[in-house]
Amino acid sequence: MALKRREFLKASAAAAAAASIGVTLMPGMEKTVFADSTTWHKSVCRFCGTGCGVMIGEKNGKVVSVKGDLENTINKGHLCVKGFYLHKVVYAKTRLLHPMIKKNGKWERVSWDEALDYVAKKFNEIRKQYGPDALAFYGSGQAETEETYMANKLFKGCIGTNNMEGNPRLCMASAVGGYLTSLGKDEPAGTYADIEKAELFLLVGSNTAESHPIIFERIMRHKNKNPDVKIVIIDPRKTPTDQVADLHLFPRPGWDLAILHAMARIIIKEGYADEEFIKNHVNFRDNEKALTFEEYKQFLEKYTPEYAAKVSGVSPDEIVKAARMFGQAKTAMSMWTMGLNQRTRGVWANNLVTNLHLLTGKIGVPGSDSFSLTGQPNACGGVREGGGLCHLLPAHRLVKNPKHRAEVAKVWGVPVENIQPKPGKHTIAMFTALNKGEIKGIYIMCTNPAQSLPNASKYWKGLKEQFVVVAESFFPTATTEYADVVLPAAFWAEKEGVYGCTERRSQYMEKVIDPQGEARWDAWILRDLAIRMGFKKEFEKYKTAEDIWNEYISLTKGTDMDLSGATYRRLKKVRGLTWPVPSEDHPGTYKRYTKGDPVFDALPEEKKKGRRMYFYGKPDGKAIVWARPDKGPEEPTDAEYPLALSTGRVLEHWHTRTMTGTVPELNRAVPKAYVEINPEDAKKMGIADKDQVIVETRRGKLKIEARVIDRPKPGTIFIPWHWEEWMANILTIDAFDPGSKEPEYKVCAARLRKA
């Protein structure tokens, strides 16, 4: 084809640009940006828990591009910076391509047969010599539901240990505890559809703009269109989310519970409580006993704005203002994430946010919900719903419940005695047991605990000494450093399966290309390992991903999270379904516990009489307003360690950077870690921007660059936790919530000096 000079020049330039996204352009290139020869496949973003729909562009057997899925109701075609570059991660130089065994301290490439035979032999030896509880599985909120399901069956149903955990323990367990204790069932009552109907947003412990950018965009667009929409933030740190804030309360890290009680007190005292809703839908409790509404009011008397101000460091006027804004808004949506969950009283913090909704009746109606934001793409679907924690079984079942064990054992085709009634070791207990040698073999799938555990260096001992198998898509990671065997796992776009996001939506992802190198789908790795361990009868029946999904959804039938109607056939066509979805002709459920929720609709009329909501996870259908003490952090600041250290995310990176660290653009955006210091503190300490400083806690110290910036409140410092080179988790504390067992990443005491 003859091109004129001008066309040639423009086409060359555009082709260079297009090469970056792998699309070949021709003259008239803007029209053919996404050339006709590119085939688009429906999928879901691999990063956070928002669940954005992405379209994967495939050409000649290669993933060449990603674009937002216009038909997806969550992101409506938009993407954040991480999803935008997902296609580049597939071909990262750090992809693990072959199974390897560490022999005499050196990695040696081996065949799949050798690797799996070796793991099966070692696991069986450990099981025989020390019993099933000497083995453990540690999974991920990034694994597909089908993958977690297979691991659950192998470890709990066949090997016979409940030592099965996943990293959602580290991020969402307190939200689970909060929902169970307040509303009776896990996961939110509403969905994202509430965003565009809300008059007020209460963002607590959430840097929504960076951690859930597409949700932030929806909030921002909604506020731009409706300037009367108000946004109240409670967070110790100023973040990009502040661009839309009408009011920001800056508590000392870990001291915000008193603020939430004080808000409840003002709401009741100034007449914003919905007395009718309270009468019909709410019970009151403290940690020991049931309370009356009057007794709850008495409990709140302590929480004057002045008291809360003294505890939290926020002015009383701002607390009053926040309470009035919440009370006066016709609808309100609270959102929170790790700032509340990663606390030694994370469950209580969750309860106190939900209290505000129950007291005002701002729940169960469009635009109102107590809505936890999830950090990982399938923490809800695979681990919370799939039962991938040490006390759970699939579909919100519990190992301690004999009926639940029997139901699951029947479907799994295993003797019910195989499933132990006692919960296994939760994450911190599991890695402690590894340190002690009580657990002698662990299978780690799709996660990087050597970097992501709190007080991380404490747990390297166990990883070093025990038999460690890591199934991963990337190599090396901080965890593969300690592995004995690494198994290459298929990555996003190389496998099919289902992700379940924050809003109870299960979405199907297509397999678009074959896995890189010799990588295999995690579910098949587990199946083949199980067969080699002697569980042929239990595992050989699974031939397709759909086989696994069908078995899983059969276990959800009749439960509060019924997915019976979410078959592959249907999920392949639609942009996900929000459970309960009990039949193939059911559209999915917008609001739980109220009309339109099939579980609510099926209740006897006498139960529903006079009620617009029935919290069916509670014996009398009433939710609980909790009178919890206002405990502070486990390790408050003191003269020796006078600064409160908090850790968190930046927009451009995710978790331990095994994915985002492979994208040059994202590395350029934020090339390294830093510690944010308030200018007041920096001045006192004689520290200038970009100085090298030493941050020290009782657990470790880290040399890092100072960023003097008016983001953290004076007296607090912040480190983004993504980098292995500047590993923030050698500083964080591994104290955990006694209820949820979730560690307090979000606050510990630190000191800082110039290096």
Partner: protein, 123 residues
């Protein structure tokens, strides 16, 4: 003006146009200056191109913190001083335009500068 003069003016305008196009397209393949790449784009450009950063910060992209690299590349592996529309469509898939039917050929013909605000008329 005689026909000759008109032709001369047209010729000069055409030559300038060609030179401009050439320069513009040369810039597409230009290399980013060798700088301290251990700092981020925004950190450096706040000093060297403050107006561009200010405009960007006020834009929707700035509010979302969608940085320089999304349009311009990382500066080392890839660099596009005058980016085309390719990347826009990945996020704005609802705004795919058939440029053969429009007087413009690029998203940035209308969404100019770093504000990316929609411009009309003779701007």
């Amino acid at each position: 003006m005689s026909n000759k003069q008109v032709l001369l003016v047209l010729f000069v305008v055409l030559m300038f146009g060609i030179i401009w196009l050439w320069a513009g397209d040369q810039a597409q393949s230009a290399k980013h200056p060798e700088v301290d790449f251990s700092i981020s784009c925004v950190e450096c450009h706040t000093e060297v191109t403050p107006q561009a950063v200010k405009d960007w910060r006020g834009s929707m992209h700035g509010k979302m913190n969608f940085g320089c690299y999304m349009c311009h590349g990382d500066g080392q592996v890839e660099f596009y001083p005058k980016p085309g529309s390719e990347r826009c469509i990945a996020c704005h898939s609802g705004q795919e335009v058939d440029f053969s039917k429009t007087p413009v050929k690029n998203c940035f013909d209308c969404h100019k500068g770093h504000t990316l605000k929609f411009h009309t008329g003779n701007e």
